[in-house]
Amino acid sequence: MPESTLATFSVRRLEIIDPEGNADEALLPDLSGDELRRLYYLLLLTRTFDGRALALQREGRIGTYPSVLGQEAAQVGSAFALAGGEWIFPSFREMGLFFTLGYPIHQLFQYWGGDERGLRAPDGLNIFPVCVSVGTHLPHAAGTALAARIRGERTAVVAYFGDGATSKGDFHEAFNLAGVFRLPVVFICQNNQWAISVPLSAQTASRTLAQKALAYGFDGIQVDGNDLLAVHRATREALEKARSGGGPTFIECLTYRMSDHTTADDASRYRTPEEVAAWRERDPLLRFERFLAKRGLWNEDYAAEMKGKAQGEIDEAVRRFEAIPPPAPGEMYDFVSAELSARQRQQREI
């Protein structure tokens, strides 16, 4: 018998705004001028927070911090597609996600400043705390989606992670579970092309990350992760699909980590300034400004006004963060278990 082809697959890529700010009008998501300007402000807010966090770390006012520079559009664009009510499972480099959802800014300073109380999400916002252990939160997303299904609720679940996570076993186990049970999960990978010092080419032999979804029986799409509107559109479509019973989607946002892995890292040890400079040309904030300018929604004065507003909001968050008294030593016992053991109670008293 001759060999035959059982299946062929293709991988879609979506981009809407080019680096000059020109948009494919047919693909533009339905967003008002006010919404576009809100998105711009969220990008600015994220970048302003990032710069301030780096400065605070250098001054010893917060601890080790992972910069989000360059990834703001992937985070803000996807988070802006959330309708509210979703369950969200972040990794650790997602400040733009948190701000877009209205997470209190001072709490993120608090967390990165070494105070765990910053991780308590406000009631009503179902965002899991930061997951430091790479990719290990993906099974939680699948489990929550399964629980929602069991309860007959149309809750969609969104998980964020990076390119490094796609090499982890939990990525495989969670994707497999989501595929087998057609779970309402949107998996959003910010492929920033570096896992500390390991480049994408050493992370995977796969042509794209998006195609990995195909092996689990669901759609994967690559979007230009520095194109806020492409990320937004893909996320919105994936959420609609999830809510209507269409199962999971994997969105690979191809972006770039412009900064070091964290403040404890020195990326110049393993990558060239030329590579970084080339990506600076594709800065997601710059691209969105150009896009807004072409639509008469942006000029230098407006930018200055918004930057001032963002600075003010971040200043206020820093003031608030630094005014919080440090936790009392006994607070480390507060949430170990619903009830402390006799021995833990004794340890707390000492």
Binding site: R120, T136, H137, T144, I150, D170, E173, N176, A338, S341
Partner: protein
């Protein structure tokens, strides 16, 4: 009152609790149509359906990880890991997440889940089917470790574990699954977690043993004035009951099948030394498995603490 073995008692507990509380779901490998490789979940799939008795892919990390997500969402998942040796793939989920999501989120999210797994040696099974590594889990704050030693306690402890607001590792002594039958009442009863049981009163020596070692210990101490304690919950341990007994008898022997070094016996001996040294008449002795991987069937009798070794330890401490 029905005479049940441990498999039937655990099955009854699951069935009653699933009927009582629709948040309770069972997930794991082969737990549905097959009823579990030991038939512990037999009949649940037929009674409660595929939505609540979930046959998962062969995926230990995702089983426990998904249970974390399910529990946070408001369900009460009871996950089965087919054998304790396979739980190592899910240690990350247990240690990094189940045990600390309450703490990490400062109480916003919790993980009221149970991971059931058969454990212990002596069933002529392949490698990694006979592990007894309970001490690993006792070292991790935020997770409880429970070991029933008979059908009656299995039902009462499992109901308490499912209702506990935090994650519980429920270790089922495989050797006892069908070895003993006890009267197990239908309907509701729970045995409190963190509470030991004095199985046999005595005045000359305290002996602590759990799981299948308890049965063996009870045989070994016949003729001795020994007080036998079944901790039932290994973490948090009921130090009050243990110390009261040690202060009474002045002697302590710990029996466990896990390897000696850094086994739970070490913590028990250290606690006795710290808090009851002036009451001790002699050294605290451990009768434990040697520091080797659990051997296969042909050597397992040389591995597991034998009644002779337990009696040897009793004779030794009673010399003081």
């Amino acid at each position: 009152m029905p005479q049940l073995n441990m498999v039937q008692a655990i099955n009854l507990a699951l069935r009653e609790e699933m009927a009582r509380d629709d948040r309770v779901v069972v997930l794991g490998e082969d737990v549905g149509r097959d009823g579990g490789v030991f038939r512990v979940t037999e009949g649940l799939f037929e009674e409660f359906g595929a939505a609540r008795v979930i046959d998962t892919p062969l995926s230990e990390s995702a089983i426990v990880g998904a249970a974390v997500g399910m529990a946070a969402y408001g369900l009460r998942p009871v996950a089965e890991i087919q054998f304790m040796g396979f739980i190592y793939a899910a240690m990350d989920q247990l240690f990094a997440h189940a045990a600390r999501i309450r703490s990490r989120s400062r109480g916003r999210f919790t993980a009221p889940l149970v991971v059931r797994t058969p454990y212990g040696a002596g069933i002529k099974a392949p490698e990694l089917h006979e592990e007894s590594t309970e001490a690993f889990f006792c070292h991790m704050p935020g997770i409880k470790v429970v070991v029933p030693s008979g059908p009656y306690s299995a039902k009462g402890l499992l109901l308490a574990a499912i209702r506990d607001p935090d994650p519980v590792l429920f270790l089922e002594p495989t050797r006892l699954y069908r070895m003993v039958k006890e009267e197990v009442p239908e309907g509701e009863y729970t045995l409190p977690l963190g509470k030991a049981r004095i199985v046999r009163a005595g005045g000359a020596v305290t002996v602590v043993a759990w799981g299948s070692m308890l049965q063996r210990t009870l045989k070994a101490v016949e003729g001795y004035d020994a007080e036998v304690i079944d901790p039932q919950t290994l973490s948090p341990f009921d130090w009050e009951t243990l110390l009261a007994s040690v202060k009474k008898t002045g002697r302590l022997v710990v029996v466990h099948e896990a390897p000696r070094t850094c086994g739970l016996g070490a913590e028990i001996a250290a606690t006795a030394a710290e808090e009851a040294i002036l009451h001790l008449r002699g050294p605290v002795l451990r009768v434990a498995g040697p520091d080797v991987p659990v051997p296969l069937a042909r050597l397992v009798d040389h591995y597991l603490p034998s009644p002779e070794r337990i009696r040897g330890a009793l004779d030794e401490v009673l010399r003081y």
